[in-house]
Symmetry: C2
Subunit: 197 residues, 2 copies
């Protein structure tokens, strides 16, 4: 087998580990914690289904690919909960190291391509990255909503924390922010599942 | 919220159930059984990484989308193991019913679009569907190979059964069939993990 194909298969096997990185979000039906691979699959499909609501025209295949790879670094760096203040301080350093190690398994051209796409996601500067981030926020929101806000209650998350993160959904989709995010968050504040300070 | 967006979100929540449909394949490192959502995520990424080996030029975003949705019907129909002769007899009927119910949650235009893509995958007639099927075969193969063929041993699968299924990988990619599939299968026949009759 040639070296190029061998590297591609090594990478393909390595990313299997993403299925063992668990998030704070629970599956609908008060299920178990969700893992990164499931989250990425769900986000990519939601991006395709909801693409008509993007603020700007997007290349949807780039958005989907971004969704599929955006958590690969967590194989080494672990999942950092959106409202974990301590973890967030070291997140970038941990993820940069992981990015270098994991994408280096690929042939150089694919390493460069996927690292650039990963960086694009992180930088929020393109229409595609902003819409992918909107999905990254919306996907756990609909699960948590279906579970009567149990993840928020468990972590005693405040409205301020949620709006701090979820307001970025606006950058990708005003419509989804107004029609979905804001409505759900308001409803759970009223129900007392989210602490309003 | 308008009816269209409500339908899209209902579908997005419904497909969360795919994360609870478990396959016979085990994660690498002799891990637990894999579920359909993880499998679909892995296949879609492998399709992107290995697209240069497709027999014919493919629209890779169609291939990826096909990979992401191809097992949605299993939410109702369950997973049918590739070598389960009895299950295979009723598979089509179970999956047709499921397809109608699940995709009908979507607005009609998206229902028609995704059902057509699902059918295209099933029919093996386009370059995209053949390459997506190659990924459907290759993805569990590399996991099982990494686990020293434990899934084959557990089910006492024969070389004839494996070649019956895996030979279709050829239709999508001669290179991957020769360089990966055939080599791995031969190796596991030699090791005695696959029964050669």
């Amino acid at each position: 087998m040639n070296e190029r194909l061998k590297k591609q298969l090594d990478f393909a096997l390595e990313i299997d580990k993403e299925k063992s990185i668990f998030r704070q979000t629970h599956l609908s039906g008060h299920g178990r914690n969700e893992n990164d691979a499931e989250h990425a699959w769900h986000m990519a499909l939601m991006a395709y289904l909801l693409k008509e609501y993007a603020n700007e025209p997007v290349d949807i295949s780039r958005v989907m690919l971004m969704c599929l790879i955006h958590d690969i670094v967590e194989i080494d760096a672990g999942d950092t909960y959106a409202y974990d203040e301590e973890g967030l301080k070291t997140q970038k350093e941990r993820e940069d190291k992981a990015k270098e190690r994991i994408f280096s398994l690929l042939p150089d051209d694919q390493k460069q391509e996927l690292m650039a796409l990963f960086d694009e996601f992180e930088e929020y500067e393109t229409a595609e990255s902003r819409f992918a981030h909107a999905m990254d926020n919306l996907q756990p929101l609909i699960l948590n909503n279906s579970n009567n806000g149990e993840d928020w209650r468990e972590h005693a998350v405040t409205a301020e924390q949620i709006y701090g993160r979820q307001s970025k959904t606006r950058l990708g989709s005003e419509t989804l922010y107004e029609e979905v995010t804001d409505r759900i968050v308001q409803e759970h504040i009223e129900k007392g599942n989210i602490t309003s300070v």
